[in-house]
């Protein structure tokens, strides 16, 4: 600690004072008295409790999240402290680099933040359920109490079947209504030191509507692992290949092939990662699996560890799902006591697997597996150059397999009932079942586990959808389908899906849907490569022109060119698919664009509005020079 003290850190600097936010009871953070400033002592304690007394570069993001969650923002002194602690090790990091990381993640704040911060979800399904009204209400509340309460927006929170949804200091509040609004107003007015979120607000529901093999499975802890342990480690690869299992995270990559690559790699350490980032708008099935089927998930991961020879594992949990942390931590601890995790699992020498949970901090791109690995290492989530693939060189350079939550549940199923059995339920080469998260205009939104021969039409009937105009399958990066294609089955050969299914009836303006998705990508682009960083901006601004009826045929041409360019030239899947919503609507129903083109030969502009930015800039500059 001496080295840190060499530099003067002013803890109780007035402008920099961090206020303890109210302790939220369903979180694990110890309670610290309300209204005290963050001090060096707190940081030392945090470091001692969670980071073995020495903050490492790779733990930086987790540490920043811990500060954010306990104090509501990350002050200058905390940043300086992190920089100095880490710089005592060989790889230093400056304050500015830490600020650059904070700026990457939506949920981290480096400016002072009021003790209560509400994030309203902006998925199109939230708007369809009346989000705008709540937005207006909370903005008024924030104006009334600017020092106590802030409201901002966030991308899909994974509560589309029970929206409009929000996060209060990171904890989910589904199904906003008038009484919840009043309850939040009361908290703002009364400023209690402790808030029992679970008692004050509704909690997220599983909302399972239809079960099949995965959701019916009640796994006796250890049973799947024991089945696998009757064979040598590589033996399970044969089962996986017989199962013809393909990844459930969206891309449908053959799981056996990925595992084989990792198993074949020669390395001192290997890693298994569960991708629980679930950022694709409209997807919420992983949340339900983590909540109610965590044994299958961990068992699948443990089997993966044995098969490829990994002893280190992570669950990368999106920030929005941190309310599950206490439960997940308990599940892991219980398994350690049962010798189903840890060293020499169930007595097998060399079968060691240590599982940790890492939180995300608000970045859709961190669902992309190589960006996820960067984030696990505590950096900005920028997708890596491939090759090498993660299975060859991943987390800290170790061969790493990354799989979706549901994929690991399938692995447990294969282990229990055998690969051939798993493959016996198939449609055109897609084997097993698929869990869908269904939301939008239908009577029974929620979770449905369905076989792969189910068509879009079948699903619409099941969920009670009427007068359906279009369906977005696979999330914004998937496909927008019109009735002509509703006869297609949702499987890897026809309409592939990671599990998002959003229904739009005849009353919806699909232009607004597409604009919502395009703005989502614009907000989430990591900014690494030109086609996506600039292209997402061009798409968003061009759609703005249509929304204002300022667009012309030229703008349609721009959209088409951008679709083509981003598709082929982007570095990762985000940029490659970011123009798909525009593409599907432009190809399927061009009238949605056509009827928004300007009808005048002279474009009318509001000169006052168009020059407002310049005026603001002028005023700001004038202010600066007078200081």
């Amino acid at each position: 600690m001496e080295k840190v003290n060499k530099r003067q850190i002013n803890w109780i600097d007035k402008n920099n004072k961090m206020t303890q936010i109210p302790t939220l009871l369903c979180m694990t953070s110890p309670s610290v008295p309300y209204e005290i400033g963050l001090t060096e002592k707190h940081l030392n304690e945090l470091e001692a409790d969670h980071f073995n007394g020495q903050l490492n570069r790779k733990d930086l993001l987790q540490f920043l999240i811990a500060i954010q969650q306990r104090f509501g923002w990350i002050c200058k002194d905390a940043i300086a402290w992190c920089s100095h602690r880490i710089s005592q090790l060989e790889t230093g990091i400056s304050e500015q680099e830490i600020r650059g990381i904070i700026d990457f993640y939506s949920f981290l704040e480096k400016e002072a933040c009021p003790p209560l911060h509400l994030h309203l979800s902006t998925n199109v399904t939230d708007y369809m359920l009346g989000q705008q009204d709540h937005q207006a209400y909370f903005e008024t509340l924030a104006k009334e109490y600017p020092k106590r309460f802030r409201v901002t927006n966030t991308s899909c929170t994974g509560l589309c079947d029970q929206g409009p949804a929000a996060l209060l200091n990171g904890l989910p509040i589904p199904a906003l209504n008038n009484s919840i609004r009043e309850a939040i107003r009361k908290l703002v007015e009364e400023q209690p030191a402790k808030i029992d979120v679970a008692a004050t607000f509704p909690t997220p529901q599983d909302n399972i509507q239809l079960k099949d093999q995965l959701l019916n499975r009640q796994l006796q802890s250890g049973n799947a692992i024991k089945r696998v342990m009757t064979n040598p480690a590589e033996g399970f690869l044969g089962e996986l290949n017989a199962a013809r299992l393909r990844g459930r995270g969206g891309a449908g990559f053959p799981t056996g092939f990925k595992w084989q690559t990792c198993a074949d790699a020669d390395a001192s350490q290997k890693v298994v990662v569960c991708n629980a980032d679930e950022g694709e708008p409209g997807t919420f099935k992983d949340r339900v699996l983590l909540h109610s089927h965590i044994q299958q998930v961990i068992e699948g991961m443990t089997i993966a560890a044995r098969t490829v020879g990994a002893s280190l594992g992570f669950i990368y949990l999106r920030f929005e799902y941190q309310y599950l942390l206490p439960m997940l931590t308990a599940a892991i601890e219980e398994r350690v006591t049962q010798n189903l995790l840890g060293d020499a699992i169930l007595g097998e020498e060399d079968f060691n697997f240590h599982l940790h949970i890492h939180l995300g901090a608000g970045a859709y791109i961190c669902g992309e597996e190589s960006a996820l690995l960067e984030s696990l290492e505590g950096k900005r989530g920028i997708p890596r150059i491939r090759p090498p693939f993660p299975a060859q060189a991943g987390y800290l350079g170790y061969p790493t397999i990354v799989n979706n939550v549901e994929t690991f549940c399938c692995v447990a199923e294969v282990a229990l009932t055998g690969g051939a059995n798993f493959a016996s339920r198939q449609c055109e080469g897609s084997t097993g079942t698929k869990i869908h998260s269904i939301s939008g205009d239908c009577e029974r939104p929620g979770i449905y586990e369905l076989p792969f021969d189910t068509t879009v039409e079948d699903i619409l009937k099941l969920v009670g959808a009427k007068n359906t105009q279009a369906v977005q399958v696979g999330g914004p990066s998937g496909k927008l389908l019109f009735p002509e294609l509703f006869h297609e089955p949702v499987n890897f050969s026809h309409v592939s899906s990671g599990g998002s299914f959003m229904v739009f009836d005849e009353s919806r303006d699909l232009f607004n849907v597409v604009k919502n998705f395009t703005d989502f990508f614009h907000h989430e682009s990591c900014g690494f490569c030109t086609p996506c960083r600039v292209g997402c901006g061009v798409l968003s601004e061009t759609l703005d022109k249509f929304a204002k009826h300022h667009a012309s045929d030229d703008d349609i041409q721009h959209l088409r060119e951008m679709m083509e360019l981003m598709d082929v030239a982007s570095h990762c899947g985000l940029g490659q698919t970011a123009a798909h919503p525009v593409r599907f609507l432009l190809e399927g129903k061009p009238d949605f664009f056509k009827n928004k083109e300007t009808t005048d030969s002279v474009v009318k502009i509001d000169i006052h509005e168009e020059t407002s930015a310049a005026r603001e800039l002028h005023l700001a500059n004038a202010g600066e020079s007078h200081e």
Binding site: G100, H522, S525, C529, G535, A569, H571
Partner: protein, 250 residues
């Protein structure tokens, strides 16, 4: 045809030998062929972010600086389709920043501008973003004009890999991605960067500039006055020496 032992790719119809592990860009450079690029420099590791180096490999669009050369691959770097995509990328870089070429010291030495000429770019095609970006003039010898920065990361890698300083990095996300100085203040003056650093001279545009030595190359003597970038693209502008006697003396 190609030798038994030396593998080859076919680039624009000609066989080009390569060594295992080399990228298409490296193989091309070795053979004296210029593939347009901005974020690539032979002295630092590849990045793959600007995408200006896109080529067609067996019919698929790839970034040549991060795509390994493979025996028999058919590569096209100058077909109409690629040139059109490349032109759009250059235009996107122009509208994203604030590039006012007539007053820029790097005019005539700037790879972005030279590529725009080479691709016959007559306008910026898309609506300008006009971003509000901070300029850093705190350093006694160096100016960072972020209006012109294309986030190519070359200076970041040069500082880390050649100067052994790690004085710079990219921070933020999406359109807010920005070059930053690695120090407490975030200002160039405290970053440890010095005017003789490679990081200072590797910038493909005019974002990192020396102070006190303005317009050192007189018009007519600048690298792309002499020849288009398609002919001298593999000569690094920072190594170009025009006739100094014609330039203003600092």
């Amino acid at each position: 045809m190609s030798d038994q032992t030396i593998p080859c790719i076919e680039l624009n119809g000609k066989p080009i030998p390569f060594q295992a592990g080399e990228s298409i860009m490296q193989a091309a450079t070795q053979a004296g062929v210029y593939i347009p690029h901005l974020c690539h420099h032979p002295d630092v590791s590849p990045h793959g972010s600007c995408r200006v180096c896109i080529v067609k490999v067996n019919g698929r669009v790839k970034a040549s600086c991060i795509t390994p050369a493979e025996e028999g691959a058919v590569v096209e770097s100058e077909c109409d389709e690629i040139r059109q995509l490349r032109k759009r990328l250059i235009q996107m870089l122009f509208v994203e920043g604030n590039h006012f070429c007539p007053s820029c010291e790097m005019s005539g030495q700037c790879q972005l501008q030279a590529l725009a000429y080479d691709l016959n770019m007559l306008d910026t095609h898309f609506d300008h973003f006009y971003p509000n970006r901070a300029i850093d003039c705190t350093h006694p010898d160096i100016i960072l004009d972020r209006d012109r920065c294309i986030n190519c990361d070359l200076c970041v890698r040069a500082s880390a890999q050649i100067d052994n300083k790690q004085a710079l990095s990219l921070g933020g996300r999406g359109q807010q991605t920005h070059l930053q100085a690695n120090c407490e203040s975030g200002l160039l003056k405290d970053s440890g960067i010095e005017s003789q650093d490679k990081a200072m001279h590797i910038c493909p545009v005019g974002a990192l500039l020396p102070k006190n030595n303005h317009y050192p190359q007189i018009t007519g003597e600048r690298i792309y006055d002499k020849a288009p970038i398609s002919e001298v693209g593999n000569v690094r502008p920072e190594n170009h020496q025009g006739d100094q006697t014609k330039g203003p003396i600092s």
